[in-house]
Amino acid sequence: MTYIVGNTGKWEYVIGVEVHAQISSKSKMFSPSSTNFAASPNSQVSLIDAAMPGMLPVLNEYCVHQAIKTGLGLKAKINLKSVFDRKNYFYPDLPQGYQISQFYHPIVQDGHLNISTKDGNKNIRINRVHLEQDAGKSIHDQSPCYSFIDLNRSGIGLMEIVTEPDLSSPEETAEFVRKLRMLLRYIGSCDGDMEKGSMRCDANVSVRQFGEPLGTRCEIKNINSIRNIMRAIEFEAIRQVNLIENGQIVRQETRLFDADNGETRTMRLKEESHDYRYFPDPDLLPVVISQTLVDQLALDLPELPDEKIKRYIESYGLNIYDAEVLVADDKIAHYFEEGADLCNPKILANWIISELFGQLNKYSIALSECKITPKMLAKMVKIIEDGDISGKIAKVVFEKMFETGREPKQIIEEQGLVQVSDINILSSIIDDLLVNNPDSVIAYKAGKDKLFGFFVGEVMKKTQGKANPNLVTCLLKEKLQ
């Protein structure tokens, strides 16, 4: 359990999040405009997105499918009828003067997502997932006298994923967001790129002493990275503890996180909050979907992370850590599975997690750019298994493969790296060694066990590391008896 130690005792975090996930879709939610990210300002704007007079929204069904799939991934209830409402407020980058959202009847309700915490697995309840459209962007730093508006983002489909206040630490919250992002990427409903703004997070934070009722919460808006989620929550919770312990009260308010200073600060008080005047959008009919569609989408759903982890443990014999690491990125998982049936999967997993990740990191290369194909890596593991090269030599081979993209066998042959497993050769090397080091032999026999390593090392030196280590061990033991 994570807690904050104050002057009056220990304080518990109570955190809920609202994640705005941009729906992966070629076109916007209510217009045919493209959702292309890096396009020049106002180049992806239809008459509908600019809210020209007489323009009407037409729902992009694909966005609805994406939300249903997300709901299924969150083991939630899919509402066969949901309704779009208007959330009314004025802002220059909100051309309609209202955002189309789902307030009263969201498409998805009552789900959950399992996360691993330091105290074990924890179920985070999902209150709802609803569809809404994004606003445009106001740009204030281009001119001293003018603000500019870019409507490219205006009308892009978002899913707002809202949790119950089930999160109990900044780390848990970060883990939840990571896990959710992984799930969305698996489903393909959001690319999860926080740096591009495709995933943004609001956090509701309050504190309480153990066993006390819920405290007053503050909402921190628009946090754009997992690191900042943790920083913002931690700062905010400590701020609240300090207030209460100094006899002040926490005001319910909306706050902004200033990433430069690591602080949250007041954006608006509850009293200043908008009355959004939600009402059903009369331009759109209720979204009515059939159970058949839901069932079909469920069938089309890929294997999701939790199931995959379970399968890796059960069918490949991986430990939970390795399984989680591989599954965290569906591309890695896919890479692993391509090779897993061709060699010992546990060894393959080790190679991916330690060596492959290490090299990719070292050279800042994405997996998709890596020259080692999964099959090549599996072949290399197989060669180790067959005893043709040692693990140590394999590292040399691996680096060459990474550099050149050539087959392991080819590299081993060219560089003469095949393991020496010939008993006669090894025996004569060992015999020479023992003859030349009589003092060490005597010492070993007298009980200096550590010297065994010295003997192995010497054999390896003589064979440039190619001696079969198992065989060397056996022979040495035999000869030193």
Partner: protein, 494 residues
């Protein structure tokens, strides 16, 4: 005045086919008449150049015998419809400089059927009004005059007052209007025209500047029921660009005009007829209409729409609620009017632009709508009004189990003077007493001229039919038209 402007559309189409005159001649005759009656202020924008060009094409099509349904027929378009390259102001200062680069579906459809657009007609600002006295472009005057006070200018009704005046004064053979709570039927009644509001969803709302989205529906003014059927056939139809548009085939409607109402069951809500405060002249017209229908063999059935007494109140909650949201887009940021706001904050810019850009009636409705949607009053007003709306729809549904059409007057009174009824907005809202119940239920209705007041002003009767059953509405209206043919619904001097 050239007599050819007095032709009905069906007569004109025949004459054009016959080469009695050309569409260019017909168009010029209308442009001359428009010029002569500038005083009515029926048009905001006249598009003579476009009209003559289109008329030329129409003449060519007649020459090649490839004419379309409305080929070469000069019509007017309410300024609520966006028309490509032509000012589309919705009667508001807010859009007084707005020239769209797109065309509304309905205006596109009638022009695709060959109609020639003469111009854009004046209207109450954002279609809010019942007298056409809220337009930024000035009041529209009716071509009619009351017998007891001929010097007093009368209102044409609203909000489609420009369209009504234009057709009534022969400034166009037909005009597109829009009807949210009666904005076609009430002015049609005031000016002796046939006015039709189809089933909600029959005409696309794409490109029609929104007032109250769940009620707005394109409508049409003509001088005969047959012309009305022609226009409807060309205006209606599914449009994928409007999610509330209904995907249902448009029937042939012209045959309704010759169909008898023999053995047809027609409902009359006699309880409404017996209410206090309905003018005797209106009741007389209603009874005359019943006689006409009976004489043609219809069976009159007493029905009741019990919740209709709450309709006006419910409407004046729902329509302003939707309007307050629909009109939020007019913020001076992207198009339309922006007040002089240099150096001001964004909130000041909004306030000044919207204070100067909207007229008082529009502001009143935005205020009402904002109030009824506010979180503290949502239940008491908006949700209650929605319940009433459902109850009224149910009332109609039950009534239509017994009957195929319902007749109800279009307005509670004849047309009034431009300076009357201005003190209290509620007095003005009462104009829509009879038109609002079917609007809330989304039903098709036709206002057809059916009588004259003692002041020699036209009175209209409303025929309401089932959802998507425009046919029966026209069928009854045509019967009433035939039964009233001894009355002239032409304004004096025209």
């Amino acid at each position: 005045m050239s007599e050819i402007i007095k032709y009905t559309i069906s007569q004109a189409v025949k004459a054009l086919k016959n080469k009695d005159f050309s569409s260019t001649e017909l168009t010029i005759a209308h442009l001359e008449q428009m010029n002569k009656h500038q005083g009515l202020n029926a048009y905001i924008t006249e598009t003579a150049d476009i009209a003559l060009k289109r008329a030329g094409i129409a003449d060519q099509n007649y020459h090649n015998n490839s004419q379309r349904l409305l080929e070469g027929i000069p019509i007017a378009v309410k300024d609520l419809f966006c028309t490509k390259g032509v000012l589309s102001s919705a009667g508001s200062k807010m859009l007084s400089n707005f020239i769209p680069n797109y065309e509304s579906t309905v205006s596109q459809k009638v022009q695709d059927h060959g109609a020639v657009m003469l111009g854009k007609t004046n209207m109450d600002e954002f279609a809010m009004g019942s007298a056409n006295i809220t337009s930024y472009f000035g009041n529209v005057i009716s071509p009619w005059r009351a017998a007891d006070c001929p010097e007093m200018p009368l209102v044409p009704g609203g909000s489609s007052g420009g369209s009504a005046s234009a057709v009534s004064a022969f400034l166009a053979m037909a005009a597109l209007g829009s009807d949210t709570g009666g904005s076609v039927r009430q002015p049609a009644s005031f000016t002796g025209l046939v006015g039709f509001k189809p089933t909600y969803g029959r005409c696309s709302r794409f490109g029609m500047i929104a007032f109250a989205s769940s009620l707005d529906q394109a409508g049409v003014f003509t001088r005969t029921v047959e012309d009305c059927a022609l226009m409807l056939e060309s205006m209606m139809g599914f449009d994928e660009k409007d999610s509330t548009s209904i995907d249902f085939d448009v029937p042939q409607l012209r045959t309704a005009c010759n169909a008898s109402v023999k053995n047809m069951k027609i409902g009359v809500p006699f309880d409404i007829m017996q209410q206090d405060g309905i003018q005797p002249e209106i009741i007389k017209m209603w009874q005359d209409t019943i006689d006409i229908l009976k004489n043609d063999g219809a069976e009159i059935i007493d029905i009741s729409i019990p919740h209709s007494k709450y309709a006006l109140a419910a409407y004046y909650v729902i329509a302003p609620a939707e309007a307050s949201s629909n009109l939020s887009r007019y913020d001076g940021i992207r198009y339309g009017f922006r007040a002089e706001t240099a150096g001001m904050s964004i909130d000041e810019m909004y306030t000044k632009t919207r204070s100067e850009g909207f007229g008082s009636e529009v502001k009143r409705r935005i205020m009402i709508g904002t109030y009824v949607l506010s979180s503290s009053f949502m239940d008491a007003y908006y949700l209650k009004a929605q319940k009433i709306r459902r109850l009224i729809s149910d009332d109609f549904r039950k009534a239509f189990l017994q009957v195929e059409a319902i007749i109800l007057p279009s307005t509670p009174s004849e047309a009034f003077g431009i300076n009357q009824k201005q003190d209290n907005p509620v007095t003005m809202y009462l104009n829509d007493l009879f038109t609002i119940p079917p609007s809330l239920a989304g039903l098709p209705c036709c206002s057809v001229p059916a009588g004259m007041s003692s002041n020699n002003l036209p009175l209209g009767m409303q025929v309401i039919s089932k959802e998507l059953d425009e046919y029966n509405s026209l069928r009854v209206a045509a019967t009433i038209e035939r039964g009233s043919k001894n009355i002239s619904f032409k304004p004096k001097g025209f």
